[in-house]
Structures are given as C-alpha cells and as structure tokens.
Symmetry: C2
Subunit: 350 residues, 2 copies
Amino acid sequence: MATTEPTSPSVTLEEIARVAGVSPSTVSRILNGTVRVSPAKREAVEQAIAQFNYRPNVLARSLASGKTNTIGVLTQTIASPFYAEWLRGIEDALYEPGFTPVFVSSRWNVTEECSRIEQFIARRVDGIIILHGQLDESRLEEFSRQTPIVVLGRSLEDGPTLAGFPIDNVQGAFDATRHLIAEGHRKIAFIAGPTSHTDALERLVGYRMALEEAGIGFDAIRVEQGDFLEAGGVAAMERLFERGVGFTAVFCANDQTAYGARLVLHRRGLRVPEDISIVGFDDVPTSQYATPPLTTVRQPIYDIGRQAAGAIVRLIRKEPVTLSAFPLSLIVRETTCAPGRVEPIVDFTS
Amino acid sequence: MATTEPTSPSVTLEEIARVAGVSPSTVSRILNGTVRVSPAKREAVEQAIAQFNYRPNVLARSLASGKTNTIGVLTQTIASPFYAEWLRGIEDALYEPGFTPVFVSSRWNVTEECSRIEQFIARRVDGIIILHGQLDESRLEEFSRQTPIVVLGRSLEDGPTLAGFPIDNVQGAFDATRHLIAEGHRKIAFIAGPTSHTDALERLVGYRMALEEAGIGFDAIRVEQGDFLEAGGVAAMERLFERGVGFTAVFCANDQTAYGARLVLHRRGLRVPEDISIVGFDDVPTSQYATPPLTTVRQPIYDIGRQAAGAIVRLIRKEPVTLSAFPLSLIVRETTCAPGRVEPIVDFTS
DNA sequence: TTGTACGCGTTATCAT
DNA sequence: ATGATAACGCGTACAA
C-alpha cells in the first residue's frame, strides 16, 4: 500500500532498482527524464520511490554530472536592508531555473572575500555572484576562468565568463542634489560614505557636479565622512554642527546614513523638512515608512538582484548576457522642501 | 619555482600524488592531518599543491566521508531586519567550527517550508536550523530522525536530535505593557501580529495579563490586527482611529509594526511620546536610530542565533545541548512617557 | 610510515 | 528500451 516506510536513513538508487526489479540506470533515467522507459517499469520504480520515500543524493549526483546547480553569492554582510534586498531578488529569480544560492558574507574584508571565493570554487558552484566586492579586476578575471562570475555594482571589462553591472551613482547623486537646489537650497551639506567604496566616491562626484552646474561651487567644509551606517550618520552630523558651518539641507550617501543624521537633527530640536531638508540614497524598503517618509534616490534593488541571477544563469549556459542599465530615480517624499524663512544655524562661512 | 600554473580547471588529488611521487592516500592524509607523514613527502606534496593551486573537491570529499560540513538554515524571509540578525549570528558562530550555512527562505509558506527541508536532506546537510517555522511537531520529529534539527522560537519536546529554543514572549509583552501602565496609561491599544504566528499570540497574552493584573481589564476594541510589517502597522492604526476608540498608548507586536503605527500618528499631527506613547518588540538594530528612538522589548537576536549554531553543532557531535533561556528586557528609550494632559482623541468607550 | 583496493551514490557510455 | 560497466574525486580499512 501507500504506507510510507519509517523513512530509513538513506535509501539509495540501487536499492530502489532492486526493489523495482530494474537496473540502476533505468531508475536514473526515470529520475532525470533522459529517455523514455516502458510504463510498466516506470510504474514499479515510482512506487518503490514513494514507498521508501527515496530522495536522490545531491552530492553523488553533482559529482557524477559535474553540475551542482548551486550559485555562490558573496555579500559584504547579510544583515543590511540594502544587501538583503539584493539577496531576496537573487534567491527568487534563481528558484525557477532550479539553482540554489549559497549566501556568504565577507564582512567588508578583502582577505575573507578572496578565501570565500576559493571556497565557492572548491564547492564547485556553477557560478558566482559578487555584490560589490573589493577584489581588483585582475583577480576577478582569474577566478572567472574557473567559474562564471557576475559582479553587481561595478563596471568591468566583460568577458565570456565575467560580467559587471555598474550602477549610475553619479547620475543619482546629481539628481538628488539638483532637486535640493531646485527647491532653493544653496548651502547643502553632504555626508559621504567610506572612501574605500566606489559607490561612495561616485556619489560625492555627483553631488559636486550638481553644485558646480548651479554655480554654487563645491566647498569641502560642508562634506563629512560617514560609514554607510546609522552610527556614521550620527557622528558626521554632529561634526557638521560642531564645525559651525551653515546649511539648510543634507544629502546623505545612503538611507542608513540619513537615518542617523535625522536623529541628530531631532535631538537638536530641528524639524525635518521645515528647518533642514534631507535626502538619502538607495530607497531601502523601510524608507517609505520613516517618519517622515524619506526623500531618496531609488535603486530598483530587488530587480537588480533578479537580473544578476538571470545573468549568471545565462553565463553558465554560455548564452550572451545583455547588461541593461538600471535606471535610478529620485523619489520625492517628505523630508525635503524649500529652505525655511529663518536660517537656523549660525553661519560662519558667508 | 613558485610560479603558480594557470590554475587548471580541476586538478585532482590523484594528479598531485603523481607529481609529488607519492600515493593518493598520502596526499589525503596530509590534507586531513590524519596521521604523520615523513617531512620529505609532505614537502613534495605541499609544493605540488601550491604549484597547481590545488583545492580538494568538496563534493567528492563529502560523498566519501559522509559529512558535508553544511547546515541548512530555513528562514521565513531573508530580507527582514529581524531574521537577518539571526542569520548573522548563525553565520558568525558556524564559521569557527568550520560549517557553512545554507540560507533558504520559505516565504511564510508551509508547503515550501516542507519541501525546503526535504531539499536540505537531499543535500545531506549535517544539520538544520529552523527559524520559527510552522511545521507541526510530529513532522519535525520525523525529519529530525534523518538529520539533527534546532528550532528557534518554539518550545519543543526535545530529543537526541531535536531541540527547540522558546522565547518568552508572554513575559516580554507583559513587561512592556506594565511599563506603560506604570507611566500612568490606562487606555492602551495593541496592534497584534498574524494570528498564525505563535509569537504574536503569546504577545497578546502578555499584554492582556498585564492589563488584568492592573485591574484595567482587557477590551478587544483596543486590539487591532497587524502583520508584523510596517504596512500592517499603518493599516491597523488607521482602523483604530476610525473606530474612534480612545487610547494614550500603543503597544505593537513588533518594531516594524511600531514604525507603521508611528507614521500614522505623525500624519495625524500627533506627537510621540507627548500625545501618544508607543512601544515595540524585538529591538531590531535600527530601532535605536529611529526618530525618536523606539522604546521596545529587546531580544538578543544575534546571540540567540549564535546559540542556535552552537546547539546544532553539539547535536551533530551527539553532545548534550543545554538550552538556556533568552532573557528579554525592556529598553526604555524615547517613545514613551506619562500620558498627556489632554485626551487627544474622542473617546466613545468611557 | 606508506601504498592498494574498495566504497560513497550517481551519471554516462557503451553494448544489447 | 534496457542493462552492464566505467567514471566522478576522495576517504579509509587493510595490508605491507
């Protein structure tokens, strides 16, 4: 009957074959649908499989076939609203083609990044997706000879097994700053990201470009260093105030930084946006629920993740990858408005 | 010399043995440090390994040894500030013993949860960690006969290969509500979590207990349904207002719900905490940076994750697991204070 | 200490 | 259509 046996530890394909009275090859064929088998045998095999609750050993299968159906995904950290969205997109998109992602964090450490990739290769993953990453291009190129690699957030000289998906940080930062300028702001501070991070640097460039385009001129005194985290936003904002430099708006290198900055404003009794406008970058899922909802540069993070998944699959199948640009868009919510009537801060600079 | 060869696609242990002029088993022994080998041969082998940049095939190794050094981790979703902290703790703690976690989301779907676990078993993971999960205990017990399982956030009848780590939601919710009462609040609303979720139910119980202990009495009219997400918090809060029921404080089933609720308050021109106090649950990393910083019940999420990792490792090694309780603690920050002088909302109920 | 031979659970290449 | 048989890359008793 359909009485499932007490799930024995590990039934093998061979045993199933024996029970069903066929050869192992036939069972394998039925499992993989390689060629047609007679209905009778198929019936017998399927029944045996059900009876013993048999599950093929993925390891053995991979060893024999040379494919693991596994994609190594290297992220800086898994506990970040930003990276998590990428991972979610990747996981979802990888599901249909039957690939399993293996997420690993390198914790912002280049050495670990390198060793993790070697581990991926030792695991014989079919492909690797790297989120940002700090490895130089030559090493990436080298690794990509062992297994296809897709890098998100970087522009790379693409090859048959290597593809980079850049993100237009400059444009995004430019748009954000321009929005502030259009609202009437002239003194716009900027809280930057870590200097080791390309994205951070590019966003600084965009900020600067917008300023110069408007004839305002860039002034390093209004720029402070953050770390892409809330804590860095807090510290940077404090320093901005201590410095006594005047500003009516702050553009933050990412949303988390903006949250930190916003808290300092609150502590100092400054209203957002009435007293100070604030703009973030990324549009992390929670940003629309911040109080007030954050004006920010939206990256279609989830969709970028999906595209990356699609790209690595195509790379594996040796199909050409068409890397479409990801449009960034400014989402104007409620943390920006025209500068207040009263200059809230003593201004030493004018 | 030390000229690393062009990283040939896949050098095997056998080739290394041949080059070094020893037998495959010797190479294997050196790799695993099983027994001592003569310095001369070791030298030759290590050089060959370096020269060919050889990395053992993890698959073959697992197939032969019967161990994958892999832990399947099943989460509801990877993109949640709460679950992400758990995952981070797990990953960090698993690193030292040399295990690799494989994170998979079941997307709140019981069917998928089940199939994912079967996939884990097919992959021959050495153990499984389930974050919450909705599977009934009998199925868990059944699965745990194939591979050790640790379940976070549930109380289970522990066996030699099954351990559940409950979280004292009742106590936490009780403390939170009590804090509000101690501040002088009498009309305390509650935004619940999904009814399918045990945690959510238990937090409701704690809320109710505190109310009754204080002689206030529970009134279902002040309870609204959320979904543990910001959107649910928004909707629930709106309904609370539409209902026209008076309250001076809101206890939310988790932090994300609190953020949603807080936004509605802001939209209605109500100040937090002057007009309405608000308390969350979880103490997600960002909560200390919310504006204002959220008063909430702190779960040591990251550490719980670490403990879970330790537990599964011990289960695998057939060592006894000592499941210590996780102390929840109320973190009073800045969203709670004594009720305002003026009752802000029309109250139909008094 | 070192080498040989077999097994791990499948897939794949042959014949039949 | 089906069944032997040989890989796949490594660990490990067993023997030497």
